[in-house]
Symmetry: C2
Subunit: 363 residues, 2 copies
């Protein structure tokens, strides 16, 4: 603790991202990266932008990229905000749109960066418990609030909400912003994107890190009413005029334009998830119903922390959350390539056996 | 003004960056970019990193890049902080280190983002007037403060401070952070970098946008005592775990390692600046003594705003600041290539004539 730190800094408990191991040869299934990588057209666009022009500042408003996003979602450019990864977009949203007298509401089991943003900006918040099936109950959010935030599908559960329930909430909650974090929506949930035309309080946040295979480039965006986007832009222009460099703008634009690559790789991941779940259930795993590119799974015979450690000994990295306690029995496993899923299953069989084996173990 | 905006958002007056014109064929001398572009080794390193690995998150701590910076300045890795452009580094510094009860002090004529950060984070500030020669008088900063911030050389004046005066200030001011913004230091000022070993309150901020020709990549950094860097890191890890993507880390590392390119291009810019100043002085321009890659110049016969407009009609873009009023008679001109300087001089001669002509005009 330094006397030079501001009061805010002293009290922060920063977010801890999943490990980015530096040793090669690991099967990395811990931070929900896309095993198939970005569109080749994105790599080509980056290569074309990687030239002497890097001497020049990028377009501070990212107009070309925002036009591409607007076209994709059938909205206007002034309904689109872009940032240095969806984490930055979320940070600005908490500061610009969610800092009011009443507390912000979000689930008790969700993306653990949300309470960190609240601490950073001095925002009161309340964590609303998931139900017994680890589902978000939107009726519990119908009360005084300074904003409502949830991912759809939720993380790290992977469970999606029906679109109709979200629209019901929007109809009941018009005085504060409803932020739907759609980081994982492409893997199976229904998007609320089309509702931005009808609900000025709706902000939809997306990332290119997952379904577009560009976690290393750092691009995220938000779509909403022009008034919400203007609020975000005011904060962004008071923080960093140029959040996206020339390579990020070029690569993101090309990635979003290549729908064929997006659909093919997304479908492969969804197919692998379903196959992996079946096989793991045969081994006795309980798996929450996932609409994401990861699964949250637990086995009756092995605590989550131990399973993560044993997988690591076998060069497979998954994520275990010690907190919240409700999910500490689980591990979160990113869906890899078919070969990576097979390698995972081979190790899991060795560790937990088949369902018959584990039944015997439990006797 | 939207009811969804937070109080902070309502009251912001965002920073307005210099124009990034989209039409081709302009001679762009308005945002202090480097006319020679980045090291070819930086472009090669980016090309090597532009591959399937973009699917993976970058190293959140940017260790390899920070090690390169540490080696360059003879400090340890834990004395180095990196960010998405020096604007982001400055934003985090204001939040983490400069938010205290007493006001932050900075010059009345300086980088106009400083008061914007203060508004964003609710920091009280006082602007300390430059002297009659547009110089920073550091003795005026010897009073109660929550932090002291100034660029060296100052922008947009280009005037550098003697190293001894900064060390005198550091000796007199140990209870709050002294942030020296060395965005332009490579073009002629003496750096305070070596003093970080002796003064734990000193934070030195640098950018790769100017002397390393990488404005389009977005990389900046800070060097200081481990306690200051830890404070910055706490805020960064509460805002965005991955501020620098894989391409930015790779390109910045290679650019910083190529000292030959850096020295050659820097020397050409300094040589062009001196030659340009001589020729413009012959035309009757008054030019503040610049240690930067730009000059602040005024002509007795043409108001700054008019001169900027007339240059624009001739496809040359420079920057005019309407505020603060003390510099509204000037234009700020970035040092371009030799050919760009010649083109500028050709237009200026047509607009203002030689000194003899302008003397006649003034009669």
């Amino acid at each position: 603790m330094s006397r030079y730190w501001s009061e805010t800094t002293r009290n922060l408990v920063p977010y801890v991202p999943g490990e980015q191991p530096k040793q090669p040869g690991l099967i990395k299934l811990n931070t929900n990266e896309n095993p198939y990588g970005p569109s080749p057209q994105a790599l080509e666009a980056i290569q074309a932008a990687n030239c002497e022009h890097l001497r020049l500042y990028p377009d501070p408003a990212s107009d070309a990229l925002r036009d591409t996003i607007a076209g994709l979602h059938n909205v206007d450019r002034q309904q689109v905000f872009v940032g240095n990864g969806s984490d930055e977009v979320l940070a600005h949203a908490f500061n610009a749109l969610l800092c009011h007298e009443a507390p912000v509401l979000f689930p008790d089991v969700t993306y653990s960066f949300y309470p960190v943003y609240c601490d950073l900006y001095g925002i009161a918040f309340e964590q609303v418990p998931l139900d017994e099936q680890f589902q978000i109950r939107l009726q519990d959010y119908r009360r005084q609030n300074g904003g409502i935030v949830f991912p759809n599908p939720n993380a790290p559960t992977g469970i999606a909400l029906p679109l109709e329930q979200i629209e019901d909430l929007l109809q009941a909650n018009s005085d504060s912003v409803v932020l739907v974090d759609e980081a994982y929506v492409d893997f199976g949930a229904r998007s609320v994107m089309a509702l931005v035309h009808r609900y000025p309080q709706l902000l939809v946040v997306r990332t290119l890190s997952k379904s577009h295979g560009l976690a290393g480039l750092r691009v995220g965006y938000a779509v909403g009413s022009p008034e919400l986007i203007e609020g975000l832009t005011r904060v962004k222009d008071s923080f960093n005029s140029y959040p996206l460099g020339r390579l990020a703008q070029a690569g993101a634009q090309a990635a979003l334009a290549d729908s064929a690559w997006f659909i093919e790789t997304r479908n492969r991941i969804v197919h692998s998830r379903e196959a992996l779940c079946l096989r793991m259930q045969e081994m006795g795993f309980e798996i929450l119903p996932s609409s994401a590119n990861f699964i949250l799974a637990r086995h009756p015979a092995i605590p989550g922390e131990q399973l993560a450690a044993q997988l690591r000994e076998n060069n497979i990295v998954v994520r275990h959350f010690r907190r919240p306690a409700r999910i500490s029995a689980f591990v979160r496993i990113t869906i890899g390539t078919e070969a990576q899923c097979d390698a995972l299953l081979t190790v899991l069989v060795r560790l937990v056996g088949t369902r018959a084996d584990s039944a015997i173990t439990l006797d």
